[in-house]
């Protein structure tokens, strides 16, 4: 399928083209036509993102599970000096493209109603954001990857800063500078790799091709520094304890759809980076630092779970729970075995769906009452039974109840970690209990109990629009929980090859 068609570029750049189209339309329109365009902007955005979703589904269907090779590869001259425009997917990245394409239309649907000002610009920002996010997962060139990886900051900065809550400017700055500081160190490491490749392959052949770089043997001493530089970037993006503090601020201030994208996709960039760069390129350093990562993960899981329990703001609670769940991901990745890696990828996809859904769920009642204080609510099951049921499912998925997607990822990462160090798995399991504590606490305080706040009288249950948003998320949560092979079959070959490569390098070095 798609022979000779640059399908990845098409998927990546359709949203950007739509954004340009929207901006041009609003520039060319007469003043009276402007409101018309403003009103129709969400429709254009929705159609575009649905088209992207359709194409991504076709992409996954056309994807060959059996091979670990990069597929749908495109290559064009770009900047010269071995830096090329190189796109392609393997089993690890293809699902993240689908996840992005899946979440973005839902964000558009939800924002079409909740955003009150400057609809057109909002849609433009989201479309550009989608282009950049898909681009990160398609890029097979280090420079191209970095361009997309950093580019994501720009629309997100604007989305938080313009459409955010009370302290939006502070949060936007913190988000931007925190992540930028992390990534310039990665940039330094990339520059080093570029020159190192020139030394190994001959000065004229210096390359930034990720696949080529992964094949190179890098001296163990250099690996340590490079690994740390990449770690600085990915750990912030992830975010890992103790560099997670930007996340709660950003989440609380961002608009609902912004939070969904932040939790659903942006946090995955860090984990994806670890899998794509740190592990295959610096296996010795990865092995060396694995215990360090384990301890950070365990501290992160337990500490942020406890912090989450004490939150009074619903979004902040979910934000901290995200940090805890990302702890499972890093733990799984650095277990450096099949179960751990598969579990980490599964956990990332599942968390993308579940945490996204939770943020949508918070958005639902926030739009009705304009507060996220947990204490404000209580007993709303009386008026919103359907909402209570949906929220229940996602809470359970967040806790990791068997039968939901949350369970699969957590159990796999723990199995992976157990093979390396049982104590780590024990700590993570303890974290799972804590996650039940805070998640059920949230659920009980908001949904159950007597209605003590008069303002809650007569709250409306889910509207049609909200059902449209929630339904696919509910379906995906359950389907992935019951039939996880949907994901693991696609990733298996690539993960296998990745680990084989790492083990070969470790044995050789």
């Amino acid at each position: 399928m798609f022979k000779g068609v640059p399908i990845l570029s098409i998927i990546t750049f359709i949203p950007a083209l739509a954004a340009v189209f929207l901006m041009l339309m609003s520039r060319l329109a007469r003043p009276e036509g402007k409101t018309q365009i403003e009103k129709n902007a969400p429709k254009v955005a929705l159609v575009t993102t649905l088209a992207v979703l359709g194409l991504s589904l076709l992409l996954v269907m056309g994807f060959d599970n059996a091979t670990a090779e990069y597929q749908f590869v495109e290559e064009f001259a770009w900047l010269g000096g071995g830096i090329k425009y190189r796109m392609g997917v393997d089993g690890i990245s293809v699902l993240f493209i689908l996840l992005t394409a899946f979440l973005t239309p839902l964000c558009i649907i939800s924002s079409a109603k909740s955003v009150k000002s400057r609809m057109l610009e909002y849609m433009v920002a989201f479309l550009i954001l989608e282009t950049l996010m898909i681009g990160v997962f398609c890029a097979l060139d280090m420079v191209l990857f970095y361009v997309f990886f950093e580019g994501v900051l720009l629309p997100m900065f604007i989305i938080i800063g313009v459409w955010g809550g009370k302290d939006k400017v502070y949060a936007a700055y913190k988000f931007f500078l925190y992540t930028l500081l992390g990534s310039v160190l990665m940039l330094a490491a990339m520059l080093w790799l570029y020159y190192y490749s020139g030394q190994i392959l001959g000065a004229g052949n210096a390359t930034t091709n990720i696949a080529e770089l992964a094949k190179m043997d890098i001296p163990a001493g250099a690996q340590t520094w490079l690994w740390l530089a990449f770690f600085a970037s990915f750990a912030v993006k992830m975010p890992m304890w103790p560099v997670h503090t930007w996340l709660p601020d950003a989440h609380v201030q961002a608009p609902t759809a912004g939070s969904v994208i932040l939790a659903g996709i942006l946090l995955k960039l860090g984990g994806y980076g670890f899998i794509r760069f740190s592990i295959p390129m610096f296996p010795d350093a990865s092995l060396y630092f694995a215990p360090f990562i384990f301890w950070l993960s365990i501290i992160g899981i337990i500490y942020t779970s406890l912090v989450a329990y004490r939150q009074t703001d619903m979004k902040k609670l979910i934000a901290y729970s995200s940090v805890a769940h990302m702890g499972f991901v890093t733990m799984g990745i650095f277990a450096l075995n099949m179960q751990g890696m598969q579990g980490a990828i599964f956990q990332m996809i599942s968390h993308g769906i579940v945490s996204g859904a939770l943020f949508f769920a918070v958005g639902v009642i926030y739009e009705r009452m304009h507060t996220r204080e947990i204490a404000f609510y209580g007993g709303i099951v009386k008026y919103m039974p359907m909402y209570a049921a949906v929220f229940m499912l996602f809470t359970m998925a967040n806790v990791g109840l068997p039968g939901t997607s949350g369970f699969v990822g957590e159990i796999l990462t723990m199995v992976g970690a157990y093979q390396v160090n049982p104590w780590i798995a024990f700590g993570a399991a303890f974290g799972m209990i804590l996650s039940a504590v805070y998640a059920l606490h949230l659920y009980r305080e908001v949904i159950f109990g007597e209605i003590e706040n008069d303002k809650l009288e007569g709250m409306k249950d889910l509207t049609g629009r909200e059902i449209v948003i929630m339904a696919p998320l509910v379906v995906m949560t359950i389907v992935l929980g019951v039939y996880p092979s949907l994901i693991t079959d696609i990733t298996a070959a690539s993960v296998d090859a990745l680990l084989a490569g790492v083990n070969a390098k470790l044995a050789g070095g």
Partner: protein
């Protein structure tokens, strides 16, 4: 005559300057705009003369050198100056300062830069530098009734004279210890010595210090914020662009030509200059409220980045510097064309807060400024990032890893103040409604913003420019 043909571009500039002086003197009110447009044409001719007519070689016993390097640098300088002259029109008209001398000073300044870039011995180098410097002093004080502008002009002159003194002193030391003025022979003398004599090293350091004044590299940057703020805005735009490149080109010539063997010595100097410029530029800008002062510190920092590339040495260092400076010049033209659009009925504005809420009243201009700021901050997806990539990459090759790390960290600090401008534009409430911008400002700022999108420009602009830059860098070795 044959030798003179190498100087076609310069001759065109000199002749048109002299002739336009007459046109301006006797042409009355209409003469001003005739002088302006003919000057722009002359500058464009100068820019392309190198590639089309000049050819390559040496004139006047090596005093004047034309090679791929000087062609490329002169093209950039000529185009930047032409763009500057074009976007100056509206400002001078609105301030009732529209006089023909401005265009002619610009021509003489560019003529001086042409000589600087092609300098082949110490004398022609000094003549070129003084020619451009004297024109620039007058341009800084062009608004002679304004206290700020006169102060700027005087400050620039005094400090500029001091730097010329240091330069001359260094040149006399080099001459005294080598016995020759010619770059080529200085190089020969140095390579014949086992240990370079201390006099030459001292001379080299003095010369670099004098040139560091011209590119406003710290610790010789003190004049920059005041002059940038005081000078008329279009003149500031000119200062930030072409003269910087000319002086950098001269440094490049010195360190690749006569002092190529003395890498140990100049590398240390350049590293110190680079580190101080980057750090002072980044921290100094944090508290600025005037956008011209902000850009002054930003240009200090940017010179630091360019020096990182030069400090690496070798053809890759030179080409890194040229890539970086090309991107920088495009952004500078755009940003000043955008600043000049900050004008209400009452007059021109310069405060960063005056941009507040611009995104609500003027979306295109806000998008342009946002693009330019992100590019200057070196955020990927804009050319500014690639400029930095090619500027910093060679330093790795020379083992200057920590220098690159400092450069990257200071660019994070830099991102903070560029972001502040973006924040004011997008997140704050509206302060002013600007008057409709004249066409040339809108055109220049949007073209420059568009050029900073590498994805769009890739096949048409990027690839051929890269080829020119590679040729330019290789011609020095």
């Amino acid at each position: 005559m044959e030798q003179l043909s190498l100087l076609t571009g310069e001759v065109v500039l000199a002749l048109s300057a002299v002739m336009l002086l007459l046109v301006g003197a006797f042409g009355g009110a209409r003469g001003v705009s005739i002088v302006r447009y003919v000057s722009i044409a002359a500058l464009v001719v100068f820019a392309f003369a190198g590639f089309i007519i000049n050819g390559q070689g040496e004139a006047f016993e090596g005093a004047f050198v034309n090679d791929d390097f000087s062609h490329y640098v002169k093209a950039l300088i000529g185009l930047t100056a032409a763009a500057t002259l074009w976007f100056s029109r509206n400002w001078f008209k609105s301030e009732k300062l529209d006089q023909f001398e401005y265009s002619i000073l610009m021509l003489f300044a560019v003529l001086g830069m042409g000589v600087m870039v092609s300098a082949g011995n110490l004398l022609s180098m000094y003549v070129g530098m003084e020619m451009q410097a004297l024109s620039l002093y007058v341009m800084a004080a062009f608004n002679r009734d304004s206290l700020r502008a006169s102060e700027a002009g005087l400050k620039y002159f005094v400090l500029g004279a001091l730097s010329s003194g240091m330069l001359l002193y260094g040149m006399s030391l080099v001459y005294g210890f080598t016995g020759t003025l010619s770059f080529a022979q200085i190089g020969a003398v140095i390579s014949s010595q086992d240990h370079m004599s201390a006099g030459i090293v001292a001379g080299l350091v003095f010369m670099l210090a004098g040139l560091a004044f011209k590119i406003s590299a710290a610790p010789f940057h003190m004049w920059t914020p005041d002059v940038y703020e005081g000078a008329p805005t279009p003149v500031t735009g000119f200062f930030a662009g072409a003269p910087k490149l000319a002086a950098l080109a001269l440094i490049t010539r010195l360190i690749t030509g006569p002092f190529a063997e003395a890498q140990q010595s100049w590398q240390q100097v350049l590293i110190v200059l680079a580190v101080m410029s980057m750090v002072i530029g980044a921290f100094g800008a944090l508290t600025q409220t005037n956008i011209k002062r902000l850009l002054a510190y930003s240009s200090i920092a940017n010179m630091g980045y360019a020096l990182v590339a030069l400090a690496a040495g070798g053809a890759s260092g030179v080409s890194g510097m040229l890539v970086f400076m090309s991107v920088y010049l495009v952004a500078i033209i755009g940003i000043f064309a955008a600043i000049l659009q900050m004008r209400t009925r009452e007059g021109a504005l310069e405060g960063i807060v005056d941009l507040a809420g611009l995104s609500k009243s003027n979306l295109p201009l806000s998008l342009i400024i946002t693009t330019l700021m992100f590019s200057l901050a070196g955020i990927p997806f804009f050319m500014g990032f690639f400029g930095k990539w090619f500027a910093f990459a060679p330093a790795f090759n020379s083992g200057l890893t920590w220098l690159v790390v400092i450069a990257l960290l200071s660019s994070v600090i830099g991102a903070f103040y560029y972001l502040r401008v973006i924040k004011v534009i997008w997140f704050d409430d509206q302060a002013h409604e600007f008057v409709k911008a004249p066409r040339e400002l809108a055109v220049l700022s949007s073209v420059s913003a568009l050029l900073l999108f590498p994805v769009l420009m890739m096949p048409f602009v990027l690839a051929p420019t890269r080829a020119l830059i590679e040729a330019a860098a290789n011609s020095l070795f």
